[in-house]
Symmetry: C2
Subunit: 286 residues, 2 copies
């Protein structure tokens, strides 16, 4: 339901395909719509529900985070980065269009994320909303997601420690997952201690997501993943599976799942939907 | 003085070169600091002064606009776009570092622009500041600067009309110049009619800037420009000079200068510094 709601909202807020420049807008829509697990919007709405947020406020943050995620995938797939040709079961943006268009698509999707966060009511008051825009910036920027990508690039072919691998993932995927949870919370009546616990939960859930991703990448087929399976190993990128083996990676996932639930149990609000999402992340085979 | 102030402020707000990931942060600083005319910060502060804005508020908008400009240059210089090797008299970011780093530098500079606009006080109240963040997004995105880049790409080797060329420039460079002026005004006590006149002024000043750029590109040397001269002609890109000739391009510049001044004369505030900047843009030989 949240996934369909997110799809509809993104569909409405992305520029129409007939709006000039039409090819850029078609490529933006191609890169965002019609696929994706919408994990970050799901987490955002689940946190919003826990804090009694207006769902229309949460739509704004959920879509903004998803647009940041989508932009990062478009750029990450480009030849100078991961050079991948398949994403969500379809040709990547630079394959379907061209490299220059993919560059601009990513740029414009990022801009749109921040524009939406400022243009639509997303919080009980504008001061809070400004703080949320800043939070999204911190999560997406050079000390967050983009920084994680840089660490990832530098790590190719390197012998990382497990702590260094965790540091990379906390930035590369964890920062935005954390932002999704916290923005959902801030859209509601978040008090300081609940926000802290949710931040702790999000850190565990973000790592869990990554460990499961590494397991699926090692075990899965390209068809079920919707992206090229085994590419991390092929690119000599360190993964949890390559570093500690499949068995211990599964143990780690089980451990992170317990920690995530424990963090939720400390929140004095109804975190039932976040708990269900944690299990969904842990058990996913998609 | 404004240029030095902008340099100092950017220097302070960019992540320190020792902060991890250090190479990304060094490349971000390389791409922003130590060069550039800072035309957009100059316009932003001049508009702010006309509207009696707190200069510290204006610093925020001026730096945010300059970071958006800097990100667009880094991406525009990449091999899949203009493939340029020289910028501000130095190797472009992807030449000095590498393509993947240049991609992330541009991404992270854009994020930082929006983060700063949300993190620091930039307007008399948070509601106004949110509207300013939205305005920056509109100017930078697919219906503004990034859209202009897409139109520019599509125009290579094409026979454009002069109206189409103007449409491209209004987006590619004009949108951000307009945002610089309007953000400076909104940081102060901008009333509706003054903002309208300043918007009209900015449209003329932005086109003037572009026409002069085309004239300098045709006439100038690589050394005085600090970037590769004659590259538009070499890449078969339409310019004012290639379309209407050098003589009529100079007449057009003179006409736009008069129109820009006329728009300023309609403002009921002291626009002396904006008028001086208009002459600076028209007369520049740098």
């Amino acid at each position: 339901m949240i996934q369909r709601r997110t799809e509809t909202t993104l569909e409405r807020w992305l520029p129409a395909p007939a709006t000039a420049p039409a090819r850029l807008h078609a490529a933006m829509r191609y890169s965002v719509l019609g696929g994706g697990k919408r994990m970050r919007p799901l987490l955002c709405h689940a946190a919003g529900e826990a804090l009694g947020a207006n769902p229309q406020y949460v739509d704004v943050a959920a879509c903004a985070v998803e647009l940041i995620h989508a932009y990062s995938l478009v750029h990450d797939d480009m030849p100078c980065m991961d050079n991948d040709v398949l994403r969500r079961g379809r040709p990547t943006c630079h394959v379907e269009y061209d490299e220059a268009t993919a560059l601009l698509v990513g740029d414009a999707l990022q801009t749109l994320a921040f524009q939406l966060m400022a243009e639509h009511a997303a919080a009980p008051d504008p001061g809070r909303q400004l703080a949320m825009v800043a939070l999204l910036g911190q999560a997406a920027g050079s000390r967050g997601m983009a920084g994680g990508q840089a660490i990832d690039l530098a790590a190719v072919g390197m012998a990382l420690s497990i702590e260094e691998l965790e540091f990379m993932h906390i930035h590369k995927t964890g920062a935005l997952i954390r932002a999704a949870v916290l923005l959902g919370a801030h859209a509601g009546a978040a008090d300081e201690s609940t926000v802290q616990e949710l931040g702790h939960f999000a850190n565990r859930a973000g790592l869990l997501f990554q460990v499961v991703d590494d397991i699926l990448d090692a075990e899965g087929s390209t068809i079920t993943l919707g992206k090229t399976a085994g590419k991390d190993a092929a690119q000599d990128k360190p993964t949890y599976v390559s570093m500690i083996g499949l068995g211990r990676a599964k143990e780690l996932a089980a451990h992170l799942r317990v920690e995530a639930h424990a963090a939720l149990d400390l929140c004095e609000v109804d975190t039932g939907r976040l708990a269900a999402l944690t299990d969904y992340i842990a058990d996913r085979s998609f």
